[in-house]
């Protein structure tokens, strides 16, 4: 029995990996044959970044079962620290792939450190309180990033807050307060985005199927029961939270390195909620669903450009309807009996054909 379920999980994970690889190959082929519009081509790296964001938030919301409304905050931390690192490394290292990897590592570590700093106190709370504190945290990060000035000259990096008091004679500004990051080297590529998705999926799948992953899911399903069998609540919660934060940080680096300028207000509560929509639509705890939802919902507005003003309205309605359909007993039964009939008909059809 156990072996059978294990096999099923492994098979499902393989399907997900394969889906990402096939999608990557097809898109690469389309790009090289030039049959993809330039606006869509510009979306490729952001799509990868959003997929990583969605998958990592799914670890917190779906697997750990705690709602985080400040996920974009970690993306912001990653983007800001990673880009500064990329510019520094870029002066000595020629290879842009190596620079991006180093920048992602720095961004991921910075986000992880912030994740620990936030997580240790905050994860003592749960439910609604945790949600509101992560939201507050996201706003704090945005506030700080909006007032941060970082410049670089021959002597190294210079920091200051609130007012630009850096007196540099021959330096360049890297982070310019509300103007955000400027002069970002545009080193992110679709292939790197793909690689990051694969790495994140690998980490998450292995985590979920490990002893730690089962402990985390036990906490989600029943905290008190999990505690009573000796699972350390804070440690496992923190583990999931920090891994999720580090991945969001890496996604932030990838996202920022695709543009020449990025402002801090890009990573606000709306971005956090957008990613949450991906996760909820894809299905809580379902990584493949998150990937599909993130891709479709990022591509769709590009395709349906004329309806773009209705986009957010439709998102909102879809979010509400999804929640009602999956959580209301009456609706759930109605849908269940409907799909039940449907699948029975499909079975009949198959039998008839066979």
């Amino acid at each position: 029995m156990n072996l059978k379920t294990m096999n099923k999980t492994t098979r499902s994970n393989m399907v997900t990996y394969l889906m990402v690889i096939i999608a990557f190959v097809i898109v690469q082929a389309l790009v090289s044959s030039g049959s993809i519009s330039s606006s869509l081509k510009g979306q490729l790296v952001p799509i990868c970044a959003y997929i990583v964001m969605a998958v990592s938030l799914n670890l917190t919301v779906g697997v750990l079962g705690e709602l985080s409304l400040g996920h974009a905050g970690f993306m912001s931390v990653g983007a800001f620290s990673g880009v500064v690192a990329a510019i520094c490394f870029g002066q000595t290292i020629e290879n842009s792939v190596a620079v991006l990897i180093l920048a992602m590592l720095v961004g991921g570590c910075a986000a992880a450190v912030v994740g620990v700093l936030v997580g240790v106190p905050v994860l003592r709370l749960s439910g609604d309180y945790l949600a509101i504190v992560t939201l507050a945290f996201g706003e704090i990060i945005k506030g700080i990033a909006n007032n941060l000035y970082v410049g670089m000259d021959a002597n190294g990096l210079h920091f200051c807050m609130i007012k630009n008091t850096l007196e540099m004679t021959d330096g360049t500004m890297l982070i310019n307060g509300p103007m955000g990051l400027t002069g970002i080297p545009r080193i992110a590529t679709f292939a790197m985005g793909f690689a990051l998705i694969m790495v994140c999926l690998f980490v998450i799948f292995n985590l979920v199927n490990s002893k730690s992953g089962r402990a985390i899911m036990a906490l989600r399903d029943n905290k008190i029961a999990a505690q009573s069998v000796g699972i350390n609540v804070t440690n496992y919660k923190l583990m999931a939270f920090v891994i999720s934060a580090a991945m969001a940080g890496m996604a932030g680096v990838l996202f920022a390195a695709n543009f020449s300028t990025v402002v801090a207000s890009k990573f606000d509560i709306n971005t956090s909620i957008l990613v949450l929509v991906f996760v909820v639509l894809g299905g809580l705890g379902n990584m493949r669903g998150s990937i599909i939802a993130a891709t479709v919902l990022t591509v769709l507005p590009e395709v349906l450009r004329e309806f773009s003003e209705y986009r957010m309205l439709v998102y909102a309605i879809v979010l509400i309807v999804m929640m009602l359909a999956t959580n209301n007993p009456t609706l759930k039964n109605a849908i269940g009996s409907f799909t039940g009939k449907f699948s029975r008909n499909a079975e009949k059809g198959e039998k008839a054909n066979g």
Binding site: V122, R124, I132, A136, I162, L319, M323
Partner: protein
């Protein structure tokens, strides 16, 4: 004088937060859910009042009453459509639905009324051509809006506390918030009581919206979002579920915000407000006046 001026501005802003926070805290107390869309009901209230008074030339008081009526209806509709079907659902599902509702209201407002800012004219008129009173030979000037806001907040608080503690309906509300099942057995209509709570909260949101836009006259579809989040912060700060807690939390938060703006940094004031929330929750996870409820196994 500057200190006194800031203090009064803080109390006035805090009064608006407190009125909004009441909506959050009452709904949380009775339905155990975060009504994320509450901030956007404020915005709708302000728009209704704006169109009633500016476009259709209604007197300010009629505009306020109309916007209260519309918001009450909106609150009940939101509750019936989105939250009632999820009574038995996990908290996470309800919270996400509420976030969806908030997005829906913001984007519907954007489509209906466009995102171009409207200049809201204060519903508080002028006396002898003056918009405020000057004290200490003009060293301290307080606008009438500030005074009206504080007075309205006090009136609302007193009447609400009286209503909840002295009337039969108030008793029913307290019973439902304590134990839904037992309240139902005692013949209390739980659904009606919850709807009533939403109605009161939304009517208060309309008042808060009008007062907010009278003090800060730019009206856009996202006007309600930030004050909504801050008022929620205030409710948590004071201990969610507690009506006096909402008042204390709101006023403290308003004072902290204005003082942070005046003495530390305008840009960082929001960050400071949220940092205070986090610190308070870490020291006292149930807020200043919140009751600690131990979990039953």
């Amino acid at each position: 004088m500057e200190f006194l001026f800031n203090l009064i501005s803080g109390v006035s802003l805090g009064s608006i937060y407190a009125i909004i926070a009441l909506g959050y805290t009452m709904v949380y107390g009775i339905a155990k859910m975060l009504n994320f869309a509450h901030g956007d009901v404020i915005m709708v209230g302000a728009y209704i009042c704006f169109f009633a008074t500016m476009r259709f030339g209604m007197p300010p008081l009629a505009g306020v009453l109309l916007s209260m009526a519309v918001c009450t209806l909106l609150g009940i509709i939101i509750e019936r459509m989105a939250y009632k079907p999820l009574r038995q659902a996990p908290a996470l599902a309800v919270l996400i639905t509420a976030i969806g509702m908030s997005y829906f209201l913001q984007n519907a407002a954007q489509l209906l009324w466009t995102s171009s800012p409207k200049v809201f004219q204060s519903v508080v008129g002028t006396i002898n051509g003056q918009t405020g009173i000057a004290l200490f030979d003009g060293a301290l000037s307080i606008s009438y809006v500030t005074i009206v806001t504080i007075i309205v907040c006090v009136i609302i608080m007193v009447s609400l506390v009286t209503f909840v503690n002295k009337t039969k309906t108030g008793k029913a509300m307290r019973a439902v918030s304590e134990d839904k099942g037992a309240a139902q057995l005692m013949g209390i209509n739980v659904n009606t009581t919850i709807s009533l709570t939403f109605a009161i909260g939304s009517a208060l949101a309309a008042i808060a919206g009008v007062l907010l836009c009278s003090a800060y006259p730019t009206l856009v579809p996202t006007t309600g979002a930030m004050p909504g989040i801050k008022a929620f912060t205030a409710a948590v700060f004071g201990g969610i579920g507690s009506i006096p807690g909402a008042l204390i939390g709101g006023i403290l938060l308003g004072i902290i915000e204005i003082f942070a703006k005046a003495y530390i940094s305008t840009q960082l004031s929001d960050a400071i407000v949220f940092a205070v929330l986090i610190v308070v929750l870490l020291v006292k996870p149930t807020g200043l006046l919140g009751k600690k409820v131990s979990e039953k196994v």
